[in-house]
Amino acid sequence: MPGVLAKSARTPGYPLCAAIAAVATEDCRRRDGLSTTIALMLNYIWFGLMAIALIVAIFTGNVAAVTKASVESAKTAVEISLGLVGIMTLWLGIMRVAEQAGLVSMLSRLLRPISRLLFPEVPSDHPAIGAMVMSVSANMLGLSNAATPLGIKAMEELQTLNPEKETASNPMVTFMALNTAGVQFIPTTIIAVLAASGSQAPTVIIPTTIIATLCGATAAVTTAKLLQRFFPTKLPPPTTDNRQPISQEDSPTILPPPTPNPPLPEAGE
């Protein structure tokens, strides 16, 4: 596999495409390797992005900018995560109340016909259905602050049904497709930007956005459904031999080379 990456990295003209195409053609050539390669896609994309960045930086002379970006992005990532603590705590608490009050099961009963179609693997009375329904509804209303914790809750519920804890299950991927499509009825942020930039009619983009997002979501979910049988959940014996049955905490990073404890940044500023 390292050959694939090296090849794609050497063609900086079409970097990301080349990387993806190289991985894809490699798959077509060796059908037996398909599941392994695609399953490890994030590993290739992750490494590919950084490797390409380094190689391009050599030519463009942006090495300093790349260095700065790596440090600052790491900081941003932690800030985003920590920023989630408050909202997560609030919504997980409210969710628990809704659950105990029977509201979640009521909502999921109402939407049972849709959820049965989208998530046939999940029992229709399972809490995962309720959490997914709540998360998608929050998204549609433009409450992204509420949608994220609810979505994470939904993923945790789906994980309880998942036999392979490190591999995404079919309902997880379908739910993911719905989420990355970001079905939203009022794109508040961008309307605010348009209004602030002096638009006479900032809300004209509401109908266009709804049409585009619904088409995107339909396409994503359909693709997820069509592709799922080509991506088996079980891998042929992988290279990782130190797999734990449950890796909820302290999973050994994304890349294969095992670094049990991610190195801490050198002494805090």
Binding site: A53, S70, T76, L143, A181, F185, T208, L227
Partner: protein, 178 residues
């Protein structure tokens, strides 16, 4: 009309839910505060669990952008796009949208400033921004929270969805605003 209703829902939903859910709980005889605390305890751990995944993804994307590779990619694809209805000016945005939420918002704002808030391009850009979520962020957060590392067909499916959303955004804007 529908728009007014939707905007009303958007503004009122959170306070109404925050009061309404515990209200139903109280009516059904639940110790709402105790139950709230019990659920809320998990919040911190979940947020902390996401950190390594998010750092990994955001650092890689940050480096990719800073190196100039993102610009090279969009320039390389420009000739391909000039044959479609999709304006090449928006291609960097379509790519960035899947990678970075704040980055793509900045880029959309930049397009709106440059071409005028009521121009066709700005409306397309705004529609494109509003019609999808930041793929790799959502992926890192949701799969990160539960420790899933083999994402199977999640990325291809999401990319197809984003591509369709971007193309429809351009087409629908041409249809509505030309």
């Amino acid at each position: 009309m529908i728009r007014t209703i939707l905007q009303g829902i958007s503004a009122w939903a959170i306070p109404v839910l925050l009061v309404g859910i515990p209200l139903v709980g109280l009516i059904r005889g639940i110790k709402v505060y105790d139950v709230f605390i019990e659920g809320a305890k998990e919040g911190f751990q979940v947020a902390i669990r996401i950190i390594p995944f998010l750092v990994g993804i955001l650092v890689a994307i940050g480096m990719f952008r800073a190196s100039g590779a993102m610009d090279m990619l969009t320039n390389a694809l420009r000739p391909l796009l000039s044959r479609t209805i999709f304006p090449p000016e928006l291609f960097p945005l379509a790519v960035l949208r899947t990678l970075s939420g704040s980055g793509s918002l900045a880029l959309t704002t930049d397009i709106i400033k440059r071409y005028g808030a009521d121009s066709m391009l700005s409306r397309m850009a705004a529609t494109l921004y509003g019609s999808s979520e930041t793929l790799f962020y959502v992926l890192a957060v949701y799969f990160g929270a539960i420790g899933v590392k083999r994402t199977r067909h999640a990325i291809p499916a999401a990319l197809v969805g984003d591509t369709v959303a971007a193309l429809v955004a351009a087409a629908v804007c041409i249809w509505m605003f030309k």
